[in-house]
């Protein structure tokens, strides 16, 4: 790509320094898309978050919505809780997903490998709603697991497994798994087997080979997997709403409540902006720490 661009770039810069009409026409859909649907709406979100409602369509500039967020413990706690739970979910996804990715990339070969990889991907073509519904059927009081436990004689009566933080974790990890496994498999694919063999020949134990060879090599994949999973978990709405308990409010639910239930768009926008800020900040820090760019991550 880069050589092609350099060649065409030198050609064009000698002819006209301005943007050509053809280029401009091609750029028009992009500009319309980005300005009308991404940039302006988010600027509007920022403006709305920085105003205070005085009366019907009467507003004044104010930091009131942000002050309210920092002074009201409920909002603040939900925010921190959502961030912490997302970090935990990301860590669990990594720990669960890594051995699976390693198995697919390094232990299996050929057709079997492709089949297992496909099996990893297929559940994620199914709507998140259906997947969450599945967990509800499994875990609810009259659900499959509760009935199984009673049948096996492990418990006396029906057990409610829904609406707890542990259930929420199971659901969040499930939903994010694909975004961890895909980058891990592709990065582990590029690890040469002979490096592992060399480590073994030099007397390395499984643990030391893992720590000295495999994990350092997989670092870019681990980083991009973690970034994506964290982002998606933070912005998740469905899983916390359906699987989480009454007191495990997710920050996106808070935003939804402000907007739709309480019709307080000003404070909802402020919350939205804070979530966007947290999400981008974590992505930015993650990319910097792993020395990657956003463009690398999407590949």
């Amino acid at each position: 790509m880069s050589t092609l661009q350099m060649v065409s770039g030198t050609e064009k810069s000698t002819t006209i320094p301005m943007i050509k009409l053809g280029t401009f026409l091609l750029m028009l859909p992009l500009l319309l898309w980005l300005f009308l649907l991404i940039i302006l709406p988010h600027l509007d979100l920022l403006t709305v978050s920085l105003r205070e409602k005085l009366g019907y369509r009467e507003y004044a500039f104010s930091f009131q919505n942000y002050i309210e967020f920092f002074t009201e413990p409920l909002y603040w706690n939900t925010f921190v809780r959502t961030a912490v739970m997302s970090i935990v979910a990301t860590a669990i996804t990594l720990v669960v997903g890594f051995p699976v990715s390693y198995y697919i990339a390094k232990v299996l070969k050929g057709k079997k490998r492709n089949l297992l990889f496909m099996m990893c991907l297929i559940p994620f073509w199914v709507s998140e709603l259906v997947r969450t519904f599945g967990w509800m059927i499994l875990l609810r009081e009259s659900g499959v697991i509760s009935s199984f436990l009673q049948w096996a004689g492990l418990v006396d009566g029906p057990v409610e497994l829904l609406y707890s933080d542990a259930t929420l974790m199971v659901g969040l990890v499930y939903t994010s798994m694909l975004f961890m496994v895909v980058p891990l498999v592709s990065v582990l694919d590029t690890l040469d087997d002979s490096l592992i063999e060399a480590g073994y020949d030099l007397g390395g134990s499984t643990y030391s080979i893992l720590r000295e060879i495999v994990i350092p090599h997989a670092m870019p994949g681990i980083a991009s997997g973690c970034i994506v999973v964290f982002m998606l978990t933070l912005g998740n709405y469905l899983t916390p709403t359906l699987l989480g308990g009454k007191d495990s409010l997710w920050f996106t639910e808070q935003i939804y409540n402000q907007f739709i239930t309480r019709f307080n768009w000003e404070s909802g926008s402020a919350f939205g902006f804070l979530l966007l800020f947290l999400s981008s900040a974590i992505v930015f820090v993650g990319l910097k720490l792993s020395r990657q760019t956003l463009a690398d991550t999407v590949k």
Partner: protein
């Protein structure tokens, strides 16, 4: 570690057992959703009361099957309409973007590229509320200054389509760009030498080459749109698409008709996913072998 190294039978078995457990974890929720679509009971839960097709074709009041449930069918219609609009729009814009980013140089290209990737890092709920606020501002502004009521800018199908289009276009741009990058430009030059116009060359040579990527991206778009929840939730009006209708029923507690819909959804998305994988796989053959 790897098959070429000696290892104890115990650890190999343990590893295989872990992988098996993992796949049970992946499959379990989907399997139960499917199985309970046939349970002869009013609730999608234990106990198993026997096999029935009622949740697909039932007509009685308390046991209305999917095919006789007007509300569900209507919401499937809305979802389909939205998904088709989103797919056509985003494949078109994605193709334009691919040509722009791969073939043209201009000032500010890198910044525009970063902006084009932005929708990937914006949580769906936030994208939804920002578009909701923005369309509402425009609609209010127009109403105040011209006295016109632009109804399509209020929550409803149009802004749902816009909201989904906003992030799906990033995916089509990336998929189609990746394919265009592999195109050998000398083929197009040959067509130009043979007297074709620029547009003719693109239409007869380049676009057919891009077709697998466009179809693949289109299928992904269709599914992403059909199954989108977060962005849609914030923008939806009175015409609920399927995911919103299902969510409302799920919260209220529903009959296994919901399982029947889910099962059909799984089958359709599974088939579409396989098609997209095979369409995309064709392009890889000349590269790798």
């Amino acid at each position: 570690m790897i098959p070429s190294l000696p290892q104890s039978k115990f650890s190999t078995r343990l590893y295989a057992a872990y992988i098996t457990l993992f796949f049970i974890y992946l499959a379990a929720p989907l399997v139960v959703v499917g199985v309970f679509a046939f349970n002869d009971s009013l609730f999608p839960s234990m106990p198993w009361n026997g096999f029935t097709f009622d949740w697909f074709i039932g007509t009685e009041d308390s046991r209305i099957g999917v095919f006789n449930d007007g509300q569900l069918l209507e919401s499937i219609g809305y979802s389909g309409f939205i998904a088709i609009c989103v797919t056509l729009l985003s494949v078109f814009v994605g193709t334009c973007n691919a040509f722009l980013f791969e073939r043209h140089t201009f000032r500010g290209k890198n910044i525009l590229y970063i902006f084009a990737l932005m929708p990937l890092v914006i949580p769906g709920v936030i994208l939804g509320i920002s578009i909701l606020i923005f369309t509402n501002s425009i609609a209010n502004g127009v109403e105040d200054s011209f006295g016109l009521d632009l109804d399509f800018l209020r929550p409803g199908l149009f802004i749902v389509i816009m909201g989904q289009f906003a992030f799906v276009t990033t995916i089509t741009t990336l998929v189609i760009s990746a394919r265009l990058r592999k195109f050998d430009t000398s083929l197009e030059e040959a067509a130009l030498n043979l007297g074709a116009t620029k547009w003719e060359a693109v239409k007869t040579i380049t676009l057919p080459f891009l077709k697998p990527a466009m179809i693949g991206a289109g299928i992904v778009c269709f599914l992403m749109s059909f199954e989108n929840f977060n962005t849609t939730l914030m923008l939806v009006g009175s015409d609920s698409p399927l995911t919103i209708t299902m969510f409302d029923r799920l919260k209220q507690g529903s009959t296994p008709a919901l399982n029947a819909v889910s099962l059909m959804l799984m089958v359709v998305s599974g088939v579409l996913a396989l098609i997209s994988v095979f369409v995309q796989r064709d392009k890889k053959v000349p590269d790798s072998e």
